[in-house]
Symmetry: C2
């Protein structure tokens, strides 16, 4: 299914840019926030609150995804999920997506069809549409997505509001995508539960506005790993954060997979990215909403520790490093 | 100045993703619509009108720009200009930009610095900020920009509202970028007026809202060439459009350049893209605002003609074709 190994299949070069855009957009139902969808110079999206939340993520074939490890459908789901999680992490509800896609002329049209099917499926989970985008040719497939969102009157929850004494809590899975990646890296395709989590995370977008309504003081999408992303909150808020392993429940499935691979499941939970859980800080235990799990505390100072000590391990992913 | 021929210069790999993002965003003044700028999971931009206009354009090194023909500063200006023109073409005022940039690890930091300087310069012309974005590594440089805009209470001017009897008018230059491209293609670097127009067009963004206020029935950004883009209006509005060459003034500079190259300057004006002029239809001559030039008429039927006859020439650019 890799774009460059097709033979006899119809390619994007056969269909052309406009034909491809039609395939990706025609006949798709646009939900309520889409006031003007694809096909014009720009889209028009509702921003009832008088503000719009906007975030852009870019994914590169071979760096962020591999079409021999994931189907195009899964890549599409994951690309959209990563972006929508950023909107949720501000306390906003997603309202629309714009997708820029570049790929080689030899890419089978089938790959683009599946990719867009995955994107639309994940968009539907969040009740938004793909309202616009652009396509062009290049040697490597690159997907750049911009997500828009509506704060519905909420104050945006930034990374910078955590205070000493706050509790740190998490909504959503941690470590599952990392476990799946480890499995795939060893050449296995199962267990499906962790491999599927890597291929297509399913963040609970509603947890973001829920946390904002509950009084979250800071929030972030866990895309680089819990410790790395809590470090972003720590720096932005000028506080120290301690994660307590006795509060972190490691799912039996992760323990089993780690045991089979000779790996440390807790390491996946602490440093694995791409599950797109949300991490947030709350002023007191009563403020932590249902579905959120307390995993640590905020104190004066700086740096992120685990059980009071520096964590020996990777500090998250940086490009070109 | 090509990214892959540097020696001894500091590269993006030396600086890393976060360092690079800081270089591109630190110390930049954000204008009023930017409620929350770069550095968090998402930006927050004013959308006073309760709607947001959004458009994404993607540019690929070697396809949309060449770093041996343009400086990174010029590429940055052009990339932003192309996007902001789409916002203007809806009748909206730009409010913010998000930039996704992928490039090889060997790209000199100086190239990225200049690219962002160009982007910020063009953004400043439109009084908007770069409010967010993303960066990653890839073999080829790809720039994906999303522009946001505010309709300020106006009805969006789509491609689909032209009516038989309308006049077609244009604001901004036509053919200058094509002339510059032709000059560069022959290995020349002057005259600066046309080469500069190719390297960094300077669209008059205000002409879009101006046309909307004047009652424009349809509007488009001329990015693929006048005839090709009028064809988009023709299809969307289900009308025929005739361009009259006696109404098109070809600037003496284009005539001179064409004469030197043995080319037809009128062909550049009719088919050259990338000047990012605006083309719009108006119900009567009194509605055509100052600075807009009538170039044709709308009638029942379909297709675009020049002086009543089909035009023999390229019909605009499609990727993978």
């Amino acid at each position: 299914m890799r774009p460059d190994t097709t033979q006899g299949q119809q390619t994007v070069a056969d269909v052309g840019e406009f034909g491809l855009i039609r395939r990706v957009t025609d006949g798709r139902a646009q939900p309520a926030p889409t006031l003007l969808g694809p096909g014009d110079d720009a889209a028009v999206v509702a921003a009832a609150d008088g503000r719009v939340v906007a975030s852009t993520d870019v994914l590169v074939d071979g760096v962020h995804f591999r079409l021999d490890w994931s189907t195009p459908d899964q890549v599409g789901r994951k690309a959209v999920a990563a972006n929508l999680a950023d909107i949720a992490a501000m306390g906003a509800v997603p309202t629309g997506l714009l997708v820029a896609l570049v790929c080689p002329a030899s890419t089978p049209v089938e790959v683009i069809d599946q990719l867009s099917t995955g994107m639309w499926a994940e968009a539907a989970r969040a009740r938004v549409g793909i309202v616009g985008g652009d396509m062009a040719s290049a040697d490597t497939m690159v997907i750049s997505i911009t997500a828009l969102g509506d704060l519905q009157g909420r104050k945006p929850v930034t990374r910078g509001g955590a205070l000493p004494g706050d509790l740190v809590a998490v909504a959503g899975r941690l470590g599952w995508s990392a476990a799946g990646l480890a499995v795939l890296g060893r050449g296995f395709r199962s267990p499906v539960s962790v491999v599927g989590a890597h291929r297509a995370p399913e963040p609970t977008y509603a947890a973001g506005p829920q946390a904002a309504d509950a009084g979250a003081t800071a929030m972030i999408d866990v895309s680089d790993g819990l410790l790395a992303d809590l470090a972003h909150i720590g720096v932005a808020s000028n506080v120290a954060i301690d994660v307590r392993t006795d509060l972190i429940e490691v799912h039996q499935r992760l323990i089993d997979v780690a045991s089979a691979l000779g790996a440390d499941p807790r390491h996946w939970v602490l440093t694995g990215g791409e599950d797109h859980a949300l991490a947030a800080t709350f002023p007191d235990p009563g403020a932590v909403p249902e579905g959120w799990r307390v995993v640590g505390t905020v104190a004066r100072g700086n740096g992120v520790t685990v059980d009071g000590a520096p964590y020996e391990g990777t500090a998250g992913w940086q490009h070109w490093r």
